[in-house]
């Protein structure tokens, strides 16, 4: 197995070079995934950069990113492979006049030529290095999870008509699964993966992220932003601001030409960070800031 990384600090360094700020646990798991050849299961709240991680890993390893977006009702035909039924029919039509026995025809139409590769098969057959991202795996039903197991543990797909397709790639692809934890994933799936829980970043890390992603920002402003966001996250609210919302907020402030955060600015722009009217009101009350009295969005209460 070809090694992509030498050490954990090196992974951190290289992730940083593509503007992804990791830490010992994130980089450690990526490092191990490469060494042990195991998939990574990333769990955590929405918007902490789970999908970004896959993109960053693809970019530092010069791999193609193949993405399988999961949704309820995803099946074999969408995830693994499908027979190109129209092409098969056409082939039979063409063959009709020639006198050929059934075996030959069958062997003909169930060959790789008529196979439509879906993301998982595509990742396995790929000759170039690949990072396979299976996004939001908690959205598929627990029964469908079984589809993934063969791919995850042995990196192969069994097709009844063709046999088992294994990866010809000398570099084993890195597989990253993400989950928003809306349901428990099965033990079978978890056992096959390295588990990584990504949470909201620490104050220092968030500050750095803001500075890297919004390079034109002032250092003190970045510090202030990180502090306010961290403070809001400690409140008991419905939806805590994610990293992407922090970055949006930083950009908003830059756009408005603010170099410093004062209570009025927070009051005016809080809706960038928080998406529920109840949350906004609560944050205003706790931070002691006023804001525009008219609600910017409809109330979210049901």
């Amino acid at each position: 197995m070809a090694d992509r990384f030498d050490s954990v600090p090196q992974v951190i360094e290289r992730l940083r070079s593509v503007d992804y700020l990791s830490d010992a646990s994130i980089a450690g798991v990526v490092f191990l995934a490469d060494k042990l050849g195991k998939p990574i299961l990333v769990e955590g709240p929405a918007g902490v950069g789970k999908t970004e991680l896959a993109k960053a890993v693809a970019s530092i390893t010069n791999s193609r990113l193949i993405r399988l977006q999961c949704y309820e009702g995803l099946d074999e035909a969408k995830a693994l492979y499908e027979w190109n039924y129209k092409k098969q029919l056409l082939r039979i039509q063409v063959d009709r006049d020639q006198d050929r026995d059934w075996e030959t025809v069958e062997g003909d139409i169930f060959s790789e030529e008529f196979l439509l590769a879906r993301p998982l098969l595509e990742a396995i057959r790929s000759e170039e290095p690949v990072v396979l991202l299976i996004d939001e795996v908690d959205r598929i039903e627990i029964e469908t999870e079984a589809l993934l197991l063969e791919v995850l543990s042995d990196f192969q797909v069994s097709i009844p008509e063709l046999g088992t397709i294994t990866s010809a790639n000398p570099v084993r692809p890195i597989v990253i699964l993400t989950s928003n934890n809306t349901r428990e994933l099965s033990e079978a799936l978890k056992r096959r993966c390295l588990y990584l829980h990504v949470d909201y970043p620490t104050l220092e890390r968030e500050e750095e992220i803001v500075r890297v992603r919004v390079p034109e920002i002032d250092a003190t402003l970045a510090t202030q932003i990180a502090k306010v966001v961290a403070s809001i996250r400690t409140m008991d609210i419905k939806k805590a601001p994610s990293i992407s919302e922090t970055i949006d907020w930083a950009r908003t402030l830059i756009y408005l030409g603010r170099n410093e955060i004062d209570p009025e600015t927070i009051g005016e722009t809080l809706h960038v960070l928080l998406k529920y009217q109840g949350d906004i009101q609560k944050a205003r009350k706790e931070l002691g800031v006023d804001g525009p009295t008219s609600p910017l969005r409809g109330t979210a209460s049901r």
Binding site: S7, V8, A24, S25, G28, V29, F31, L32, K35, L36, K38, I40, L41, E43, E72, E141, N181, T182, R183, E184, E187, K190, R191, C193, L194, Y195, L196, H197, L203, K227, V228, A230, S231, T234, D236, K238, P263, I266, Y276, G278, K282, E286, L287, G288, V289, T299, A300, S301, R302
Partner: protein, 489 residues
């Protein structure tokens, strides 16, 4: 660098570690154990953060278990990581070379010499203040070490977890007052502006710093305890139940907070599963009219049978909860559960009772915030009839009188309570009638099954008319209940 002997020691240490994780309740499988052993081969052992990440990634597959893992890791590797390799980060710590010393010797060494030995308490407090203001971690760690030697009063050989030592050390350092002192100092220096908002941010920052200090002290105490009593004994003392096994009745504040967070996904799962079931079973009974109509295009042969679309089953849930003193902490949980249910299901109605009963659906609907809703329930709901001791019979009778006609075939009734009726009349017929009208009736009891029907508990009187009675003392059991309800839908 590592000899065979050392490798063997490390291997034993890891196996002891895994063994302890299992003893603490973590489901570590054989494959995961092997993965962890393979993983540590690639990690330099002196890099504790990476080692922790590697072991965590391979052995811990539920985020809720992380805290247990962390405790066990700290106990095991605070001790083992030192002897293995030189150049450990603990090297410059005065007590790091105390390996092999007994606790008394360590104490004596600390109290006698060392950089902090000669300082009096006030000077130490001043140094602590400075270190906190500038956030000098190295300094803080040394102060933590000195403070533990000086104030904790550790006695060797005692089977304790160290919580008391921590408390003693913190009290001597005046941890409670430190934040306000820091605030004062920062204000005097003009570092923070006036105003509630700035003060809040500064206060939070200082609290975070203090937390770091606390963790350092805790780690220091733990390390000395491990040195004193050995890893296994220490791990056993610190063993705590997993979050899903924490008893609702005896949960600490912190555990309660965790429970509160865990309940949401559970009710969401319940809602999601119910919706899913609805969608997946897209075949109803045979639609005769349609089938005959279709058959016309096949010359009257019903080739393609048509089925009716099933009527979507919209579950309607009625929750009746005991909030009397005997189930006080359970009641807190109950209300959270009800609140979570009401935000996920559109048709939930809820009542609370002690000896009177009052509908509280409105309280939960009106407020966006759970704390506010619970406060309203506790202060405004009219639940006391005579003396404020539970009277299930009277409460059920009142409920029956007012609302029994609203119970329909779609309704699921969930009753939460310990059925300790203070020897009042049971009025079980009310439940019998509810069961006749309702889709199903469930009872969740927060007491261990062994206590049921002892003393004034009369659960089996009511259980006769329930479709299921569940012991519901922790998240695991609640989960069992939720799955049972889903599967039976």
């Amino acid at each position: 660098m590592t000899t065979a002997g050392q490798t063997q020691t490390m291997f034993d240490a890891f196996q002891g570690f895994v063994h302890e994780l299992r003893a603490a309740g973590l489901p570590v499988s054989m494959t995961e154990n092997l993965d962890a052993m393979r993983a540590v081969e690639y990690i330099p052992l002196e890099d504790r953060e990476s080692l922790k990440a590697a072991l965590g990634a391979t052995l811990v597959k539920h985020h809720a278990h992380w805290k247990v893992f962390e405790t066990v890791f700290d106990v095991y590797f605070a001790y083992y990581s030192k002897g293995v390799q030189a150049g450990d980060s603990d090297e410059d710590d005065p007590s790091a070379d105390a390996e092999g010393m007994s606790l008394e010797e360590m104490m004596a060494a600390m109290e006698g010499g060392g950089a902090m030995g000669e300082l009096d308490n006030e000077a130490l407090a001043q140094m602590l203040m400075n270190a906190l203001m500038t956030m000098d971690r190295e300094m803080l760690r040394q102060i933590a070490g000195a403070a533990v030697s000086r104030f904790a009063g550790m006695e060797p050989g005692r089977p304790v977890g160290g919580a008391y030592y921590l408390y003693r050390t913190l009290r001597q350092l005046d941890a409670e007052g430190l934040v306000s002192k820091m605030l004062q100092q920062a204000q005097d220096a003009g570092e923070i502006a006036e105003g509630a908002y700035d003060e809040r941010l500064a206060k939070e920052e200082f609290e975070a710093r203090l937390k770091i200090l606390k963790e350092m002290i805790e780690a220091e105490i733990r390390r000395r305890l491990v040195a004193d009593r050995g890893v296994e004994a220490m791990a056993r003392t610190l063993r705590k139940p997993l979050p899903e096994d924490v008893d609702f009745m005896h949960a600490s504040r912190e555990e309660m907070l965790h429970l509160q967070r865990a309940i949401y996904p559970l009710t969401r799962a319940l809602a999601a599963r119910l919706a899913q079931k609805r969608r997946r079973r897209n075949r109803g009974t045979l639609d005769f009219r349609q089938t005959v109509r279709r058959s016309l295009s096949y010359g009257g042969v019903p080739v393609e049978p048509k089925f009716k679309h099933p009527k979507p089953h919209k579950p309607e849930i009625m929750v009746i909860a005991d909030i009397s003193g005997s189930v006080a902490s359970f009641a807190r949980f109950t209300l959270q559960f009800v609140y979570a249910m009401q935000s996920e299901f559109s048709r939930v109605r809820s009542w609370v009772f002690i000896d009177g009963i009052d509908e509280v659906t409105g309280f939960f609907e009106d407020s966006d915030d759970i704390a506010e809703a619970i406060h309203k329930v506790n202060t405004e709901a009219n639940v006391v009839w005579v003396d404020g001791h539970s009277d299930y019979g009277h409460a059920f009778e009142m409920w029956h009188k007012e609302h029994i006609t609203e119970v329909t075939k779609k309704t699921t009734v969930i009753i939460l309570g310990d059925a300790r009726n203070n020897y009042h009349a049971t009025q079980a017929w009310t439940i019998a009638e509810a069961q006749k009208r309702a889709r199903r009736v469930f009872w969740l009891d927060p007491e261990p099954r062994g206590y049921w029907d002892t003393g004034d508990s009369i659960i089996s009187e009511y259980a006769k008319y329930c479709d299921g009675t569940f012991e519901c003392r922790n998240l695991r059991q609640l989960r069992t209940f939720v799955t049972a309800v889903i599967d039976a839908q």
